[in-house]
């Protein structure tokens, strides 16, 4: 056996080597890992994948397709980090290990089309063009028909595509100007980070976010040259594109003098708040020019009282709403109470907790493609806990979870809506305005 991998594994050296070597193999990470919960295999939990990284680092194993698949067997949900007594972030090691795998094998072609061509190239504003072209070319249905699982000999439907709305022909950024003035006196300038999913598929979230901010009196700036946050590339191990995205977004937002940057995509938020500082070794104020907030964090912390005043009055019938904690919002950004505070001020809703609200929904990007059975059974557990609340609406703050959960609900033909917290909030404000 050689130790020659060490030189060619730069990303798992240094910081990553420390993470790997510090794992004391206590196994505590098994207790929270949603993947381990499903199949009780050591390949599922963080300890196993760290041991694998260690074996690669010390030349006891050579990288191969099997190992790549084990590294892919992770939702990057960060639950292991929360259980780890040593305070490790194993998910980051796996993302880096994937990067090594990407460099070595390049990416499977389908992933490479979706991530590199569609999300990687150019600006977000031109993206829907590409996407609708892609739509026409049936690229997405190609992805839908799942070449990869087929290659793996499986043919189950990817859950998060089941209930995906059709992609509108114009993107959010095409429809909205770069600078939006509030009707009332300006109380500050905020930048809005749109994110791919909300620029194309879930435009309702971007619209609601911008409208709520405008109602509060913010001038909202949506830099046209912003790009994807880069988190999908980070998760797929494409660090080169990630770096390009950081540079692009930095220049897009730094052009303006902003009081805050708001994002309503959980994944994008953890990209900006968690991944960027890790890559750049500096905080968001330096990289992007202002502090980054998730929309629910910003609204609940700074404007709860203002929003209360905007709520509709004399609501008689309340609908039950429950909340799913996206891993990327709860664990990676520590946003837990804020969305609940917002839900609790909405007169049209009665908030009920679901059991295990912080448990992953099983989306995890490429994970759904590679490990469809596990992904689906994680989602089915989520569906059951939602059903048990009797809620008619599930609020959440992440496009990935929304696709996955609405897919899971749809499969059982349940009449339960899946909505971003800020969309519910905007509906309430509109109701209040109409009164």
């Amino acid at each position: 056996m050689t130790t020659s991998n060490v030189n060619s594994l730069p990303l798992i050296e240094g910081y990553y080597e420390e993470q790997i070597i510090r794992c004391m193999k206590c196994g505590m990470c098994q207790s929270t890992c949603p993947v381990y919960y499903e199949d009780s295999l050591e390949t599922g939990c963080a300890r196993g994948k760290l041991a694998l990284s260690e074996a690669l680092l010390h030349g006891k194993l050579e990288p191969n397709h099997k190992i790549e698949m084990i590294f892919n067997k992770c939702l990057l949900c960060h639950a292991c980090a929360q259980a780890c007594p040593v305070g490790l972030s194993p998910d980051k090691v796996f993302a880096a290990a994937r990067a090594e795998m990407v460099k070595r094998y390049d990416m499977p072609w389908i992933k490479s089309i979706i991530y590199r061509k569609l999300l990687g190239e150019g600006k977000l504003s031109s993206l829907t063009g590409v996407l609708s072209l892609a739509n026409r070319l049936k690229l997405f249905s190609l992805a839908r028909s799942l070449s990869i699982p087929k290659m793996l000999g499986k043919s189950v439907e990817r859950l998060s595509f089941v209930d995906l709305p059709d992609i509108p022909s114009r993107s959010f950024m095409d429809r909205f100007p770069e600078i939006l003035e509030p009707k009332s006196k300006v109380i500050g300038d905020v930048g809005y980070f749109v994110g791919c999913a909300q620029n194309s598929v879930f435009q309702d979230v971007a619209e609601a976010s911008v409208n709520v901010l405008l109602s509060l009196g913010y001038r909202v700036i949506i830099p046209k040259d912003q790009g994807c946050c880069g988190f999908p590339h980070y998760g797929a191990g494409d660090f080169e594109t990630l770096k390009q995205k950081i540079v692009q977004n930095s220049s897009a937002f730094k052009k303006y003098k902003l009081d805050a940057i708001i994002i309503s995509c959980a994944t994008g938020g953890s990209g900006l708040k968690d991944v960027y500082p890790e890559m750049t070794k500096e905080d968001n104020i330096n990289t992007l020019g202002a502090k980054v907030y998730d929309i629910s964090e910003f609204l609940a912390e700074k404007h709860l009282d203002d929003l209360k005043k905007m709520m509709p009055k004399n609501i008689k019938e309340k609908e039950k709403v429950t909340y799913h904690d996206a891993c990327h919002l709860n664990r990676l950004q520590g946003v837990f109470n804020q969305p609940r505070e917002l839900l609790n001020i909405m007169p049209s809703y009665e908030f009920v907790e679901m059991e295990n609200s912080t448990k992953c929904c099983g989306e995890g990007g490429g994970f759904t493609v590679y490990y469809q059975d596990i992904s689906t059974s994680v989602a089915n557990r989520k569906r059951e806990t939602i059903k048990n609340t009797g809620a008619k609406v599930v609020a959440l703050g992440c496009p990935g979870c929304r696709a996955q959960i609405s897919g899971a609900l749809k499969q059982e033909r349940l009449n339960i809506d899946t909505k971003h917290t800020v969309c519910l909030l905007w509906d309430e404000i509109k109701k209040g305005k109409g009164q």
Binding site: E18, I21, R22, M24, K25, C26, G27, M28, Q30, S31, S40, E42, T43, G48, A51, L52, E54, A55, H58, K60, L61, N64, K66, I67, I70, A83, P85, V86, G87
Partner: protein, 468 residues
């Protein structure tokens, strides 16, 4: 080592998806929480006692070693396939077969996670006291095989005290039942149940477990006591017991650990204290009140610097935090954490700690100690960087000194973490030649070919284990 034809025989027994052969997967069943490892030749995932019996017979016929494995969280190398062979993965045998409220007995399969049993019996108003720190991940089978203890052992005992019956696959492939599955009366003859409890998978593979349950205490009271000297803390422990009070928990933290807790958790402990005791009493409300009063007085009389008493559940959890954080905060100080398990008579705790401090100074090592002071079970935790070969040599010598002294004081090698492979070389010191030879005889009687978890507890061959 295992050719295709033989592997196919195993596949016929458990199905192909339950036989792992890929080198990367085998790597993941090579270690336990000692971090040492040896890659097995094969991993077989089993779903029934019958599967196990067949595999054992197969292994015997083909002269292959077999190693049972739960969650692989033991701290003594017990589940490592140290001499090559097949790892039998037991965590799919994970049904809770019955919780009999009337007779207060639960019957479970070995792969049930300890925390799951805990919460399931709690739902029925009952209580299963053993609570190792690894509760959330360790299997019941692993706990029985290690005789696992925990924070409540002082008053409630360890796993050993709750096992009333077992189903075991013997090294010859026979499946037997020991003890009694339906009543607390023990069965006649040898106490076979307790031959297997704590046997670390060397005498048989446990496939069903009957545990006795009790009713939970009505109330709890928790005290945090700070001391300027280790001797005073040790004296307090002895005096408390002399006063006929048996706390459910009596935990100890030394200065290094206390400072590490402060570094990472900032809960406001003074950095200059030498020791702290975390004491919990439970039971009927009036008894708990009286005991707490006496405890406070005894602790003060011995010269405590201060005592905090939790007024409610939230405060109780806050006080507990100091103890819960002990291992995690120490583990953050250095890359490698070596957790030891020296146990001495309660009265000798101060002497043992003095020795540990002396060893630490002489070898220039960082050792934080905490543990179950009430039963003299200390966890000196050596903090090093395992990449530093020189330092690791010193660790070996330090551990030897600590163990030898521990036995001199009338103590034992391990309070709860088992002997496994890492402590097997010290067995003769504790049990003398005759004692050890009796261990060997028992092992030989049950497993004449030495195929079931060989080299654990009783060392038969020198094997070298390393980190990955």
């Amino acid at each position: 080592m295992l050719d295709k034809i033989k592997i196919n025989e195993l596949i016929d027994i458990v199905g192909s998806s339950n036989v792992l052969t890929d080198p990367s997967e085998l790597m993941l069943y090579s270690y336990d929480a000692t971090q040492l490892h040896r890659v097995p030749d094969l991993v077989v995932i089993v779903h029934s006692a019958e599967d196990i019996a067949k595999i054992i017979k197969f292994a015997r016929k083909n002269n292959i070693n077999v190693y049972p494995r739960g969650s692989g969280t033991n701290l003594s190398g017990g589940s490592i396939p140290a001499d090559g062979g097949i790892v039998i993965e037991l965590n799919r045998l994970n049904r809770i077969i019955d919780i009999d409220i009337e007779n207060r007995i639960a019957i479970v399969e070995p792969g049930v996670i300890a925390a799951t049993l805990d919460s399931e019996v709690a739902k029925k108003g009952l209580f299963y006291p053993p609570d190792p720190g690894s509760l959330a991940v360790a299997t019941i089978g692993g706990c029985v095989s290690e005789g696992a203890g925990g924070l409540r052992a002082l008053k409630y005992g360890t796993t050993k005290d709750y096992i009333i019956g077992l189903e075991v696959v013997l090294p010859n492939g026979d499946i037997i039942t020991t003890g009694n599955f339906s009543s607390l009366r023990s069965s006649p003859g040898f106490d076979l149940t307790h031959l297997f409890v704590g046997s670390e998978g060397t005498l048989g593979i446990i496939t069903k477990i009957a545990v006795k349950l009790i009713y939970p205490a009505k109330t709890k009271k928790t005290l945090l006591v700070l001391y300027d000297s280790v001797v005073k803390a040790g004296t307090a422990v002895a005096k408390i017991i002399e006063n006929k009070i048996i706390p459910s928990t009596m935990e100890f933290l030394d200065k290094i650990t206390i400072n590490a807790v402060e570094d990472f958790k900032k809960i406001g402990l003074p950095r200059d204290i030498e020791a702290l005791l975390l004491i919990e009493v439970d039971g009927e409300p009036e008894d708990v009140e009286t005991s707490a009063k006496i405890l406070e007085k005894v602790c003060m009389d011995v010269g405590a610097r201060s005592i905090s008493v939790a007024k409610n559940d939230t405060e109780r959890m806050e006080l507990m935090e100091a103890r819960r954080a002990a291992l995690p905060v120490l583990a953050r100080l250095k890359p490698t954490t070596i957790l030891e398990d020296a146990t001495v008579p309660r009265s000798k705790v101060p002497q043992m700690l003095e020795k540990i401090h002396d060893v630490q100074d002489r070898y220039n090592l960082m050792i934080g100690s905490f543990g179950h002071a009430g039963d003299g079970n200390l966890h000196p935790t050596i903090l090093v960087d395992r990449r530093n070969k020189e330092e690791m040599k010193k660790v070996d010598m330090a551990i030897k000194e600590i163990f030898n002294y521990c036995i001199e004081l009338g103590g034992t090698l391990t309070g709860e973490h088992g002997i496994g492979i890492v402590k097997a070389p010290f067995m003769e010191k504790e049990f003398k030649k005759e004692g050890l030879s009796f261990f060997r005889d028992i092992k030989k009687a049950l497993d004449p070919d030495n195929k079931l978890n060989p080299n654990k507890i009783v060392c038969t061959k020198e094997v070298h284990l390393d980190y990955i």
